[in-house]
């Protein structure tokens, strides 16, 4: 597998500062917290799966440092929090991380609209895995709004990219004065 790290800190022609592991961990915990915020049922089905989006983000932009295991651990936490089957989110998030690392070069090179299309595809795939798991294991089927969360997740992508990149930007004006 060829996924060397050359150019991982270059995005859109901009050279970024190296990322601290604590920063990655903190953003993941923040996403977990966002997922745990209690919401009314109609709203929660439309909310993006923040953890899936963050896992995908770090796997696309720092795949060689993040790897698959954080996705798996976060998946287990979400399984317990959501009262779903043990391993359901874990399997889905691991696949999300794999897709992110596998496609990271392509996604990084694309303009935002193509990035969003890729992210949408991966998030839908991730939800489809969970749906498949539930159909096989218990025969449960969700309602129509199930896949809306992928749409909102993909719509969130530009904001996530913009926000998480901020602390990694070099300060432009530090050389002046």
């Amino acid at each position: 597998m060829n996924w060397n790290a050359l150019g991982d800190n270059i995005h859109g022609g901009e050279i970024l500062l190296p990322v601290r592991r604590t920063y990655i961990a903190l953003t993941m915990l923040a996403a977990l917290l966002l997922n745990l915020i209690p919401l009314p049922q109609w709203l929660s089905s439309a909310m993006p799966d923040f953890v899936a989006v963050i896992v995908l983000y770090w796997c696309v932009f720092q795949g060689h440092r993040v790897g698959l295991w954080p996705a798996w651990v976060l998946g287990l936490l979400m399984d317990v929090a959501d009262a779903s089957l043990f391993g359901q989110h874990a399997a889905a998030y691991v696949l999300t991380a794999y897709a992110g690392i596998f496609l990271h070069r392509r996604i990084q090179m694309f303009p935002m609209s193509f990035q969003i299309a890729h992210v949408l595809g991966i998030l839908l795939g991730q939800q489809a895995v969970q749906l498949l798991v539930r159909l096989v294991a218990t025969g449960d089927a969700p309602d129509m709004l199930y896949f809306v969360s992928s749409l909102t997740g993909a719509a969130l992508w530009p904001a996530v990219v913009g926000m998480l990149m901020l602390p990694m930007r070099r300060r432009q004006k530090s050389d002046e004065v």
Binding site: N4, L36, I37, S84, F86, G87, A91, V94, A137
Partner: protein
């Protein structure tokens, strides 16, 4: 920086191998959980780790409710207060009547040598959140095995039956609502006395009665209460209201109901303690001759 050095040399197993490892691990967990229910202890452990996060995540909603409470207008408060006082007087009168009836009932039961109906303990619990899992209808409450919660306990709010405790962790418990697909509650029609069972449909605000003969006496607007024959729910708790009766061509009617309890407006529920143990099923004592119950 060591971590940023390009991995020219092979570093551990390939990505696909690692994917396969984690995926197989997840599938093993899934099978162990779905088929054998082996993992409840691990789940409880993870739940303890997760508990502080859940508390923190619940803070914004708490804060919003509190600030909302703070800025409520005086007029609204006094109106609400008046209403509550009136309700309290009415409820007090009802309670007194109920006490008298209970005493009378106990006396009558001793006269006919029937077993007394035991009282149940009640625990007030806060709803932490509704599960995001779109496949099920579950809520998580802030009472766990430390507060003597156990699977199977009935959960009600002030309007009626909400569901049943289905999984207990040290600090929190999961409650399956009666709209969950796995939930069924034996009920009785208050008007006609006909017994049936409600089944959750997996979405909010609706349950249905199944296996009810088309000739059974159900009308729109009928009130359904727990019949108490399951031993989980005490008899007489309001459950649902009939909203539509479809006499189908088959011999069974389709009866749609709306549950009376709801989590949308409330943050507190009451968990009822365990009732008396049921006597042994005399048929179950003789397994070879007992036919298997039909599975729907």
């Amino acid at each position: 920086m060591q971590a940023n050095a390009p991995p020219i040399f092979n570093r551990g197993p390939s990505l696909t191998t690692r994917l396969a490892f984690f995926f197989v691990l997840s599938v093993v967990l899934l099978v162990a959980d779905a088929r054998f229910r082996y993992l409840e202890d691990i789940r409880a452990g993870v739940s303890v780790v997760l508990f502080p996060f859940q508390e923190v995540a619940a803070l914004p909603a708490d804060l919003m409710t509190r600030t909302g409470d703070f800025f409520v207008a005086q007029a609204t408060l006094s109106r609400e207060n008046d209403q509550l006082k009136r309700d309290r007087i009415l409820a007090g009168a009802d309670t007194q009547r109920m006490r008298a009836l209970e005493a009378e009932n106990a006396q009558l039961r001793t006269l006919v040598h029937a077993t007394p109906i035991p009282g149940r303990s009640r625990v007030v619990a806060e709803i932490l959140y509704e599960s995001r899992d779109p496949f099920t209808r579950k809520i998580v409450i802030d009472r766990g095995s430390r507060n003597d919660m156990q699977p199977g306990l009935a959960v009600v709010d002030h309007r009626g039956v909400l569901g049943q405790v289905t999984r207990v962790f040290p600090f929190v418990s999961e409650v399956s609502m009666l709209t969950d697909k796995s939930q069924s509650i034996p009920i009785q029609n208050v008007r006609s006395g006909v017994r049936a069972v409600t089944f959750g449909l997996g979405h909010d605000g609706a349950v249905e009665l199944r296996f009810v003969p088309a000739s059974a006496d159900f009308q729109v607007g009928d009130m359904l209460v727990t019949s108490g024959i399951d031993g989980t729910f005490p008899a007489g708790l309001p459950v649902a209201k009939v909203v539509r009766v479809e006499p189908s061509s088959a011999s069974f009617a389709r009866i749609h109901c709306t549950p009376l309890a709801g989590v949308a407006n409330f943050t507190r529920v009451v968990v009822l303690g365990p009732g008396a143990a049921h006597p042994e099923n005399p048929i179950a004592a003789d397994p070879p001759t007992a036919p298997a119950p039909p599975t729907p």
